[in-house]
Every structure is written in C-alpha cells, then in structure tokens.
Amino acid sequence: MDLDELKTLWAANDPAFAAGLRVERAEALSAKAERRIWFELALDAIAILLIGSYAADTIGDPKFAIPAILLGLYAVGFAIARSRQLVALNTLDYGEPVLEIAKALRGMRARRATAVRWIALTAPLLWVPLQIVGFRAFFGIDAYATFGVPYLAANAIFGLACIPVGLWLAKRFGARFGETSVARAFADDLTGRAFTDAIASLERAQAYAREG
C-alpha cells in the first residue's frame, strides 16, 4: 500500500473524522486554562504584597528589612519570569506556520528551563531570610535573639549544601519518575537536561526547514 492508495482510504473515513466533535469540552478546556493563569498571577501578587508590606514595616531595622528585601526581590524576579512566560504563550499566534511556532515554543522552553534551574538552585539560599522573616511576621519571634547567629549560619551552610545534594539526587533519581510527571520535569530542569533537549529539538526544527 503506498501513499496514494492511503489517500483513498483517508477520503473514505471523512465522515468518521467529522462526527461528534465536542465543542462544549473545548470551551471548558479553554476556560480552565484561563483560570489557571489568573490564579498563578494572583498568588504571585499576594506574595509580593505581603513581603513588601513586611519590608516597609521593618525598613528602620536593617536586620529584618534586608532579609525581607531579598525575599521580595526573589518573589518579584519569579513573578517577572512567570509573567513573561505567560505573556509569550498568550501572545503566540498559533495561526503562524508550524515550523515558526515549533521554533518559538522550543526557544521558550529553553528559556523556561534556564529560569527554573536558577530559581531552584538559588532557593536554598533563601532558607535563612525566610526563617528570619517568617518567625518575626507570623510568631513575633526575633530569630537572631532566640536562635542565635551560629544557628542561622549553620542554616545558611545547610542551604548551600542542599544545592549539590539536590543536583546529585536529580541526576541520580530523576529518570525513575515517569517521563511526563512533574517531578521528572523538575529534575530535568534542575540538571540542565531540559535545556539541552529543548535546544536539540530547536535545532531539529531549524534543520527540517533547511533540508532540501
């Protein structure tokens, strides 16, 4: 059977292709995607507002204000990265040629993988500022006075140690998660595998357009 014979078979199945397309399900999917985007942006905004408000309250006391500002900068950076991704995704015109969209999506995937990698690798460093701000904001406890500087320094070292350990764990066990699981995606982002894959697939798309 060759491609031209398959054409006849394809045409014979035309009524089956056209039957019972569920527009209602498509409407529900569309609304769900929109809701998720707004929910994520709302969470980012709440985090920034809370941290910003705390930083403003403690601005006269640098030992509390500086950790809050660090957390705030991190939250703002995270929100900017997420918003840029969302804007890029929502402004992407799926009506453009397939290879153009493939290249754009794979480029975005590579940038997202880089952003997630940096966010994940630097997150353990925020463990100490998070404790200082969290204890003060939620329980009124001064972490410097209550736990002492050696405790906070030990936590900072622990945070630093988490980075290579996390990388090792992601490399060692990442492949054990299902290929489509969130844990696998995170492990791939962390180890840089996702970035490499995105670049390789971007190159495949470019090569496809070039080939004669």
């Binding site: 199945n13 527009v23 493939a102």
Partner: protein
Amino acid sequence: MKRSTAEAAFLERLDRHRGIPRKVAGAYCRNPADREDCAAEIVAQLWRSYPRYDPAKAFSTWAWRIAVNVAISFYRRGRAEAERAVPVDGGAFERLASGEPEPTESLERLYALVARLDEFDRALVVLYLDDRSYAEIADVLGITQTNVATKLNRIKLRLKQWSESWTSTN
C-alpha cells in the same frame, strides 16, 4: 445560553472543516481517549485564536496550522504516555468512553504507519492525504514547495518499505 455573533460565525466556519481536529489528532495520538482530548484542545485553541483570524485568507489553511501546532505541543507533552498506551484491544474501551467513532482496521494501520514518522513529517503526510496542494502544505508548515515535494518522495519510499515489511510479517 445565546451564542455571540463571533461565536456563531466561528462555529459555522468550523462546521465546514470539522474533520480537521480529529484528522490531525489521529496522527499524533494512538490512544483514542488522547485523540479526543487533543481534538478538543485544537478546537479550544481555534476559538482562542479566532480574533486574530484574517477573513481575507482561507479558514482551512489557518485551521490546519493551528491544529498541527496544538497537536505537536500535545504530542510532545505526553509523548511517553501516548507511545506506551497503544490499546491492546484495538482501543474499544477507550473509544466507548470517549464517544469516538469506530475507525476501520485499515485506518488504524494507516495511523500506525504515520506514527513511525517524526512530528513534522506526520503533518506533511496528513495534509497530503487530505489532498491539500503543495502550496497549501508549504504554507501550513512554513517550508518551500520544493522542500515539500522532496520530503514527500522520501516519505513515500519509507512508507512503502514499512508497509511491505508489515505485510510480510502479518
């Protein structure tokens, strides 16, 4: 609920090309339930992108582009599951649950052959099977017509070899 004028116009256009989502979904998903999800996602994206549609251009070319773009994203997102979940019983249970019409045995065979191609070649084959012109295929994919012809010749050769080896082993 009463549909808006834009929605009614969209549905009217979609109705004339309602086979596109399922044709494309079939080329990228082997599991019938996935096919239906993919087809629904294509329709959702068509509706989301509809405000950008230029009525001066052919709706079908625009719809094909969107359908293939969505299907490739869908395929890449769940590739492992899609490849693994080849229905052992011909997909009868999944089809029953999804409401998808019963495909013929030859159509399943066609899908199986198409599934051996890479993601861009699949689009090329589906467009060719649907009797689209080289110009339209080139327009949908964003490559030259010469490139379309060259790639189709290569695919024809590969499909023929696969089909022959299939026949000799079954």
